[in-house]
Symmetry: C2
């Protein structure tokens, strides 16, 4: 399990530059624990002290903030290999929470040990670039929420996820199942679940997807992406689809089973 975590993280980082065998070895040595999370379970909460670094190993997680009135804003969707928090050096308590959207597992790495890793150029660079992609996605979300109507917002979010999942090797052919319910989508898009429902129906009528209980079926990924318009260049390096290998077949199947079909 622990080596699995190191492998997922290493695979993710290798998107951004080759790591030496020693780099990977170091990562492997830093894994502490592994945790299983059920939907709605939290990895950590806003206000918690920053301790170890959490990495998503399998499943679907999100960064989110809860407001005084009880509403929730999802700040980012996290897929296997993503860091729950990319601020290595921050000492302050978290200003957001991370929770599971679907069943999944995370692993912890020693934060202080990882800070030392900054002496290793390849790792420092890889972590920094991973963070860069994170930032770019966040910028895209900001644009989405600020300037696009419901349909485009939804389509673009889903399209983004298909690209990111494909980069992980989790898209088989032209079809995909996303294990998100309408409430989660709503909280990610800054709208109500009612609105998501209406728009989903509309997209279903357009033949772009099929909403099901707790998930979205996309039978024609290419069509969905086309509806989103532009190619998501903001995913930058991540989209080096050539590099898609890297997860073992077992890992892939596990991820598919746990994260998506769930």
């Amino acid at each position: 399990m622990l080596s699995e975590a190191a492998r997922v993280l290493a695979h993710r980082l290798e998107r951004f530059g080759t790591l030496g065998a020693d780099d990977k070895q170091v990562l492997r040595a830093l894994v502490h624990h592994s945790h299983i999370h059920r939907p709605k379970g939290d990895v950590f909460r806003e206000g918690d002290r920053r301790r170890d670094l959490h990495v998503v190993v399998s499943g679907l997680f999100c960064r989110y903030r809860l407001l005084a009135d009880g509403s929730r804003q999802i700040l980012a969707i996290l897929l296997p290999g993503d860091l729950c928090d990319s601020s290595f050096w921050a000492e302050h308590p978290y200003d957001f929470s991370v929770g599971a959207l679907a069943c999944g597992s995370t692993a912890t790495f020693s934060r202080t040990a990882l800070q030392d890793l900054y002496r290793r150029p390849a790792l420092a660079r890889a972590f920094s670039l991973a963070r860069h992609v994170d930032d770019a996605i966040s910028r895209e979300w900001l644009v989405n929420m600020g300037r696009r109507g419901m349909e485009q917002r939804l389509v673009r979010l889903l399209s983004e996820l298909t690209w990111r999942l494909e980069a992980l090797g989790l898209v088989l052919g032209n079809t995909i199942t996303l294990a998100m319910n309408q409430t989660d989508l709503a909280d990610a898009l800054g709208v109500t679940h009612i609105s998501v429902c209406r728009t989903l129906k509309q997209l279903e009528a357009e033949g772009l997807l099929v909403p099901e209980r707790g998930r979205i079926l996309v039978q024609d990924v290419a069509a969905l992406r086309a509806a989103a318009g532009t190619y998501p260049a903001y995913l930058g390096a991540q989209m080096d689809v050539a590099q898609v290998t890297g997860l073992t077949e077992a890992t892939r199947r596990h991820a598919l089973a746990v994260a998506l079909v769930n």
Copy 2:
């Protein structure tokens, strides 16, 4: 001028940990050029190749994206000391533009040289923490756009700016002038300038501010902050108001004149 740039950057970074005299010396050695920008002038544009690293020295800038339909979404407001782009290692073209909202100046630092700086722990840590604050602000914006109504959005944005300006020593007493016009505010908040106008009038009626041509007068900063509700803990380390010194008096007056009154 160039040493001015290094000083502003160093001052900003020192918020996040002490820099050695040698660290500062290194920064000073890396400044390339200085540029003056008029309102609406761009520092760089989406699609441009990433070359040197730009730092805001004085004035008010913003990161933004232009959409196909001509609308603009402002992604971040940049104040003196802020990096136009915090992705040191990214090689890809920019996925956003940076432009001036008010007259101001920027300086460029050698990107490759700065990358080498990562060997210096104090600098690496400081840059990383500066980025962390950047990210936290961006999260706050996401929450704002997703979950808050017009009045709160506007109040919180303005309140955030007062805090950030105070950390730079640019708030004299309890009064402040923000050199942003209604269109810029609208593009930052993801609404129309009409809506901003209406809300501004409302806030004026509540005695929180006075809209003027091209700027917002806040006579009672404390009241505005109170209206925003919570203390902006998300600004984290930046809000160490004790450390507010650091800019020379001349620099401060310059910044006040150029950035704010403009």
